[in-house]
Symmetry: D2
Subunit: 174 residues, 4 copies
């Protein structure tokens, strides 16, 4: 069971749409998956689930457990302010340290309205996951100007579909 | 007036103590400053002050305005999970884009319990501030194992004090 | 006098063409500049000008002195293998440490045939220059697919020209 | 057969000593390995083996082939100027693109005289290898102030030995 983490708490995010599309691509290769969306984070989690409160917020713990119990995680990461959403890092800051992500296998997909495709976002995440002893698949997919290439629940750009499928094949074998 | 941003919302943080100490060092050089602490963020700000809600949370806006109206900002940044606190990035994600930090002058101080001193934390922040067209002072101070060298409101390590004072001199001239 | 460093030793590089174009833009704002090209590095400099041989290679020292004596440096940096050219870093490794770049002012222009514009290249350089206490202008210009937008010695893309001129104005004031 | 790449062309480098020590640790776990040292690069390789000359320098090609034919590579990387040696990147710039490192498995060991242990060096390399579709083991070992903990061909620091052996176990299983 692969966990697909939607890396933002924005409501009705394009990241969540792409997560659903990624799930369909996985299914075509007979891979079951589950979507974990940060939009389900408790509204006050930065005050109630971090630091001295780690483990104490039941609603937070539901999301936490889906990640902690995973062996493979795909992260759909939108680019905000030249990096990834702060909320994603705050979620990671609330996971049990250091075991939560240790030895887990992670694949990264970046999204951007502009032309970077989250290149720096994925670089920063790569550092954090290395620090946490998680293994990140080398092949990172960057979906540039993704809003132009997504319509009726489908990514319409052929190259993007090739890249996503290639990433999935590598991740299954990883 | 220099703004000193405490880069975590943790209560009773060492970062806040270091911010106060930094303020004293500034005062010795006749520089007035003001401490802006993320511990004062509204508990639900990730749900009420970002994305479609930018600008709508009055309590958030108080902190926002102290940064938006600043020309020089010192950031005291603890290392969490090999980078900086997610809450700091979520705060930045709630600032008006792209003007909030454009052309501002920023100095970075990293803190860690371990031996990195937030080297990667400051690297990631440097990327974000470059993206936002802010100018970051080249000299970044990294306070390694800071808890060993802070007692009774004073940083006791002579080299750290030299580095902090050198950074302040450069930042005043920046 | 602004130094414009061509960040590759490739012969007939597009980076050198862009350096000449940047020089023209500077001249339009009455700023004199000088082009320092790594194509003039001695062929054996990695064996004769680094480590125990720092300072001993006369031909290397000519380039070295143009950088060491500068106060402002613009770097034209092509993207090679997801970062900047190794030769540029090897050149930096041959500069006198730590004074060569300390307190210098640096502006970065990235070039790429693909869509990244050297985003990670400039990020890595930013880390190195921070380590060396140089001050890097926040605004980094990334010229994406630059070969499509350069003809007869002129950058033909209007947005690129706006960005380059905006960078120059900021750098003059920096 | 694991290739151990010494990431500098410095003669008599501590990196080469650590490579030999790493080789002994591998042997204790019945893993054969081969040391590839950049000190064997042709003196003029930056002029004769890159860009239009890729593949044309026979002496360079010997080193190239040891990497191109590898499936697992350990890199021993000293920290120079806040990153890794320029010569290492110039070597990578001379490898056949994009196939040379694609799908290869890489483990990183950083060395520093100071307290960073090459944290940023390994971060930058991680970006480059992700760009080249290589898979980097999450666990990066950073040997801080390594000269203090190496004597008579042995790393004397117990924690360092634990980390190196843990990395080797993970890399064998990777």
């Amino acid at each position: 069971m692969i966990q697909i983490l939607v890396g933002t708490n924005r409501q009705n995010s394009l990241s969540e749409e792409i997560a659903k599309y990624y799930q369909q691509l996985l299914l075509q290769k007979n891979q079951e998956s589950n979507i974990v969306s940060l939009k389900n984070l408790p509204e006050d989690f930065t005050a109630s689930a971090l630091y001295g409160n780690i483990g104490k917020n039941t609603a937070f713990n539901i999301l936490r457990d889906e990640i902690v119990n995973a062996t493979k995680i795909v992260m759909i990461v939108p680019e905000y302010n030249g990096s990834f959403p702060g909320v994603l890092k705050a979620f990671i800051d609330g996971l049990p340290f250091p075991a939560a992500l240790s030895d887990k296998k992670i694949a990264l997909v970046g999204l951007s309205a502009g032309v970077q495709g989250g290149a720096l976002a994925l670089s920063h995440l790569g550092d954090i996951f290395a620090y946490l002893n998680a293994n990140v698949l080398g092949m990172r997919v960057k979906l540039i100007q993704v809003q132009k290439f997504y319509k009726d629940n489908v990514v319409t750009n052929e190259m993007y579909n090739q890249l996503l499928n290639e990433q999935i094949d590598k991740f299954i074998a990883f």
